[in-house]
Symmetry: C2
Subunit: 325 residues, 2 copies
């Protein structure tokens, strides 16, 4: 059994806790949090972060579920000195800096870190790399959604008279169809996505609807450049139909081989729960971290460096015999 611990108990940490039972070779030792006396959903033990050092040698991999903005830049290099880790650091602009810091710490402690694991960065990265490697004469497009954008939902909630709101980012069907046809047109992020808003008003009148819709649609950067749809609903409807955290997206590499053969490589995810799926990817890559560490390796890795069989519970022979390959 691979013994894992969860560091950070938000949506992602809870996702790991919920999903770990589907991974039969894993055992959850506990949840580590900055908060004291955390009551876990599953009843698994919780500990303060300061107790982590008592678990040296008793946990094979720690799954870091903190946020990229405030937690991981400090936590990952610090924790990897004593433990193998997987993190989901997702700020593309700083991944190289984060990698270097984590790599130095991991090597000094003789531990393995797999960083930026999830779907983007993560499985989407993998497909951008493979797609452009097999189709060098190509362009790669990334579309996000359909999914909830927390930042855009918050922006609507800040408008006067809005009680609650949920905003979905949706890939533009026109842009998707164009790319899928093999047309190598350039698109801006704005052209590739539309925005759909569900809004609950404090005071639901025709005038209020008109005013709030106008404020949303003309909000610079957030909504003004996009094709935006605004729907007004009741609070009950919002809670009933829009409580989840769905997300997903599409990565398409469109290339030409030979004289003029269009070749379309497409990867997509359609997820009912963004944090639960991300946590599931992290558990699979924790298996790879465990194996690499057992093999005496150390240092930081991105998903590009992990041979795919390392994340599977099947043996290489089983894959060949059972026709997976």
């Amino acid at each position: 059994m691979i013994k894992v611990g969860i560091v950070g108990y938000g949506n992602l940490g809870r996702g790991v806790e919920k999903n770990i039972k589907n991974f039969k070779d894993f055992e959850l030792v506990g949840v580590f949090s900055r908060r004291d006396g955390v009551k876990t959903d599953s009843g698994v033990a919780s500990f303060k972060m300061s107790e982590l050092e008592n678990f040296k040698g008793k946990i094979d991999v720690l799954i870091l579920c903190g946020g990229s903005a405030n937690d991981l830049r400090e936590q990952s290099p610090a924790i990897v000195k004593n433990f193998n880790i997987v993190d989901s650091f997702d700020n593309h602009a700083f991944i190289n800096d984060h990698y270097k810091e984590v790599d130095a710490s991991a090597k000094s402690g003789g531990k393995i870190a797999i960083i930026s694991v999830g779907w983007d960065p993560g499985l989407f990265s993998l497909n951008r790399i493979i797609g452009s490697a097999v189709l060098p004469n190509s362009k790669t497009y990334t579309f996000w959604g359909k999914g909830v954008s927390q930042g855009h939902s918050d922006a609507i909630r800040r408008i006067k008279g809005v009680k609650d709101a949920r905003q979905y980012t949706i890939p533009s069907k026109t842009a998707l169809d164009t790319v899928r046809s093999g047309d190598l047109k350039e698109f801006s992020t704005k052209e590739k996505h539309t925005r759909e808003c569900f809004v609950v008003l404090e005071n639901d009148t025709a005038d209020e609807r008109k005013r709030v819709e106008h404020e949303i649609k003309t909000m610079p950067n957030y909504f003004e450049p996009y094709d935006t749809t605004v729907n007004f609903i009741s609070e009950d409807e919002l809670l009933r139909d829009h409580a989840g955290l769905p997300h997903g997206g599409v990565v398409i590499t469109s290339g030409i081989t030979g004289k003029n053969c269009k070749q379309i490589y497409e990867f997509s995810l359609n997820l009912d729960s963004n944090p639960e799926f991300t946590s599931s990817v992290m558990i699979a890559y924790a298996r790879a971290a465990y194996r690499l560490s057992k093999n005496g390796e150390s240092g930081a890795r991105t998903i590009a460096q992990i041979a795919p069989y390392l994340i599977s519970d099947m043996s290489l022979e089983d894959m060949r015999v059972k026709g997976m390959i």
Copy 2:
């Protein structure tokens, strides 16, 4: 420059020859064929297979483009004693046997073989493995098409009165939509695909059409169990509209995380030219074979064992800096 040779000069070998110019770090040394005096499309040198031994130490990787039925089971283990190879052995039932034979030979010669490289087996295998690893509580579905089936086209051509024919295998929209909705229904191969036929008659009359259509639709195994459509066209139309070798397909892993969150992982290819795309995948994996060999490794590998960055011409740092990851 990575020096490669092509073994076998059919559709796949010609695909490698056409595509290699898109891979800037590759140099094509020549084409090797059982036939004497092969005239190549690009003018690159051609040699008899018996001359291969003169190229020991002068070619980094041989790309084996023979057929799985008659060539590769013998060629791959024989050739890998002296050269690194990539092959596209695609008979799933015998991949494990083939692997063992190639592995033993490769180790005896200190060479690397990457076998069963293409899209299925190949990129589809990769996605079956990754999809089921990240979603252990899941089912994986494979759909083929839209693409030409050579075997089914031949079966129609054998009917009396048929001058020429082309058969396309097409994923069933109903089955695809069901799987994409997260419904974990079981489907037989027959339920997942429909068949579309384009037929040229020797003597195009209403009676002949009726008879041939009936013979096609009632042909056991090939067409009878499927939803089959028959179109009669002129020979000119067949040559104009159906001369290519398009193919592709879809691999979907549909899983549940947590209580009841549906998570859909989908990979698809839509290819104007099946052999040109397959050849392009093989060239990318020849890059990995070259690197593994330079690193002192030997033996057989499947695509599951190749860390993705090994097939890319980008450095790991570039991937991180440029936001690929």
